[in-house]
């Protein structure tokens, strides 16, 4: 039977190969290829053997042969072979190999599927064909813009995305761009539309500088927003006061998203205020602003903008129908009143829905993190046990192995125990009806940690009135200071200082500023530090490092009606700003 014969041949070749009888192995491959000319497996084997023995031309020929025989879903076999060859063969050899692949393509010897895979695998390295090269040259001159646009549209509608990417890659690789600004910006828009954000940004960087045009600024921010990564915008643009001042509506729109993503409250406020100025006469801008306020849960601002929109609509309507009967006006006002109430109700529902959603998301994140953290030691225990079982089945186990296994398991259960005990401050407040002085609470924590602080030579300072009293459980609140100080101590390592400043404003807003002079937190982590199980420390180290400290801080503060944020402008260490609304019932509806 053919099947058995193939298998026997393959076994025989493999035996020869690993016995170092290379020539015989290759000869047998060739024999097998003649016997089974449709089987891609033998050329692949021949290629591998030749490559490993430095016979690159012969390997390349075998791989090409294999390529023509591969079935559509088997392209990865060629891809691995190509990568392997690339890592051992010299560069100019690879160029000639590429030409030969190119040759197969031009001769139409490959199936459509394999062709497509080749393009997406080798991309711009394959200069496709002469037509493509010619076309790419044309795309360097804006005179040809209509032709290029048509072609790009055609590729897009034919789902030939690899060609669009190849054109971009070709342009990125070539030096000429100054003559094709329009074509380039069209190509960038296409790439954005197709979700090829990195390529689009590379094109922008190469072809659109200096960014004089507002549209390009909007485009950069928009692509970054879609990518949920603003690092390119931050590298290329300086988004400062001047930038906000000079912005138009489209830019303001993107800036709102940007400042929100970066948690830059002041600039966000400034941008919203500017939009508000423009919203005075424009209904669309006012509506956008209304939606922003709603999504920010700024109920009162949204309401006032809503009233403003109504006024605008009313005056527009009044402009259109100046001569109408009085009764109509009356019913219009009535309707307006009703709809206003409906809107308020809807907004209240919306806000409470959002609050509910946020809680659900927080809970989901926590459970997700918790199942991951629990899953990790469970995996380790299971793998350790299963690994031992595999050894036992092969009679390869020793008593020492068993000893190692048992201590591994105990280590993992310790980890589970530590994890659970970290949750107790959140779960069980002891004295909810008590009250305490914040300053005294902070001082107590410093006292408790005094020995360790002294060992690390860290000095501490607390500034604040001693009569600032909060209702609640002091032990629970002290976890806020504990976790922040422990984080600082880990960050500082040796020699440093920690300052806590406590103050209260006329509006009963308590502000606690917590500052250390450690290495600070990298900006890209600002968003994540309060998420449960976000950690930069080694989780296997035992004491802490699970990424729960700041999450616990955040949760406790929430119970005390407080917030915590990181001060982004503080450069010489880390500064957290905690704010707690002191008295309840002061807010008005």
């Amino acid at each position: 039977m053919y099947f058995d014969e193939q298998r026997l041949l393959a076994d025989e070749i493999t035996t020869l190969r690993y016995a170092g009888r290379t020539d015989e192995a290759i000869a047998l491959c060739q024999k097998a290829e003649l016997r089974f000319p449709d089987n891609s497996f033998f050329p692949k084997l021949q290629g591998d053997i030749c490559r490993q023995n430095g016979r690159f031309p012969q390997a390349a020929q075998a791989y090409l042969n294999m390529l023509t025989l591969l079935r559509p879903h088997q392209f990865s076999i060629f891809a691995t072979a190509y990568r392997n060859l690339e890592k051992s063969a010299p560069a100019d050899f690879m160029r000639s190999f590429l030409e030969k692949i190119q040759d197969l393509l031009t001769k139409g010897l490959l199936s459509k599927e394999i062709e497509k895979d080749l393009y997406s695998f080798l991309g711009a390295q394959l200069v496709m064909d002469r037509d493509f090269l010619h076309f790419a040259e044309q795309a360097n001159d804006d005179c040809n813009i209509h032709l290029i646009q048509k072609k790009l549209e055609q590729w897009e509608s034919e789902q030939d995305i690899a060609k669009i990417e190849a054109l971009a890659a070709f342009k990125l690789g070539s030096g000429k761009t100054s003559q094709s600004k329009k074509i380039d910006s069209f190509l960038i828009q296409k790439l954005e539309k197709l979700g090829k954000y990195d390529l689009a940004l590379s094109m922008i960087e190469k072809t659109q500088k200096p960014y004089q045009n507002k549209l390009i600024l909007v485009e950069i921010l928009r692509i970054c927003r879609k990518k949920t990564d603003y690092s390119f915008a931050e590298k290329e643009l300086s988004i400062d006061e001047e930038f906000i001042d000079s912005s138009d509506f489209n830019l303001q729109y993107e800036l709102v998203y940007y400042f929100r993503a970066k948690d830059r409250g002041e600039e966000l406020e400034k941008t919203l205020r500017r939009m508000r100025g423009d919203a005075v006469s424009s209904i669309p801008i006012a509506r956008t602003l209304y939606n922003f306020y709603l999504s920010l849960n700024r109920f009162e601002d949204a309401q006032s903008i809503y009233e403003h929109i109504q006024q605008l609509e009313q005056s527009h309507a009044a402009g259109r129908v100046q001569r109408k009967k009085k009764s109509r006006t009356k019913s219009f006002l009535l309707k307006q009143l009703e709809s206003e109430q409906a809107v308020r109700q809807r907004m209240e529902d919306l806000v409470s829905d959002q609050e509910h959603n946020r809680r659900m998301i927080a809970l989901r994140d926590l459970l997700k993190g918790l199942s991951h953290e629990l899953g990790q030691p469970i995996t380790n225990i299971r793998y350790a046990v299963q690994f031992h079982r595999r050894k036992m089945r092969r009679n390869m186990d020793t008593p020492e192995d068993l000893e190692v296994l048992l201590s591994d398991i105990l280590l993992q259960t310790d980890r589970l125990g530590t994890l659970l005990s970290r949750f107790s401050p959140v779960v069980s407040p002891k004295n909810e009806s008590g009250e305490f002085s914040i300053t005294a609470c902070a001082a107590k924590v410093f006292d408790d940690l005094e020995t360790r602080l002294r060992e690390q030579n860290i000095s501490c300072q607390i500034d604040g009135p001693s009569d600032l009293i909060l209702p609640g459980d002091q032990v629970q609140f002290s976890q806020v200071f504990y976790n922040l100080i422990l984080n600082s101590m880990q960050a500082i390592e040796k020699d440093g200082h920690i300052d806590i400043a406590i103050s209260v404003s006329a509006h009963h807003m308590i502000t606690i500023t917590f500052t250390d002079n450690g290495p600070g937190i990298p900006e890209q982590n600002y968003q994540k530090i309060f998420e449960p199980f976000f950690s930069t420390k080694d989780p296997t180290s035992g004491n802490g490092g699970e990424g729960l400290g700041l999450y616990i801080v955040w949760n406790i503060l929430k119970m005390f009606n407080g917030t915590i944020r990181i001060d982004k402008d503080f450069q010489t260490g880390t500064r957290f700003i905690i704010q707690i609304q002191q008295s309840k019932g002061g807010t008005e509806r």
Partner: protein
């Protein structure tokens, strides 16, 4: 000989996987972070990458994206101990060849079988798979 890259930050997880593969004649390297994993991936040629999703520095998803930008065809198996449908959908769209659960259902034997099944046709298990594709004509 097949060559596997394990990108996993937990030595206690990576160890048994590496040793089991080596016992079956498969070479395996371990990278403890996404960055280290990408560096190895660029330096050497692997037949398969086993990728944990939760990693320090770069996330597993970011690593996967970077790998796919450079090599759309290398076999990548993702294994993780928690993920929902949306995660899997996103990963599938970036391009993965296999998905394995860790955590309470973690099964080393299954993991090794899947890896060996996916490896290049030179290895025993995968060679059988290849010959199944070439039935008696």
């Amino acid at each position: 000989m097949s060559h596997v890259l394990i990108i996993e930050d937990e030595p206690a997880t990576a160890g048994p996987v590496k040793k089991s593969l080596e016992a079956d004649g498969i070479q395996a390297d371990v990278a403890g972070s996404g960055t280290a994993g990408l560096a190895l991936f660029r330096e050497k040629t692997y037949d398969l990458i086993l990728l944990d999703l939760k990693l320090p520095e770069l996330s597993g998803e970011e690593v996967l994206r970077a790998i796919r930008r450079e090599d759309p065809f290398i076999t990548v198996i993702v294994y993780t101990n928690y993920s929902d449908f949306a995660d899997i959908k996103r990963l599938t769209n970036i391009g993965i060849d296999g998905y394995i659960n860790k955590g309470p259902g973690a099964d080393l034997d299954e993991l090794i079988d899947v890896i060996e099944g996916k490896l290049a046709p030179i290895d025993g298990a995968a060679m059988d798979a290849l010959f199944k594709e070439f039935p008696n004509d």
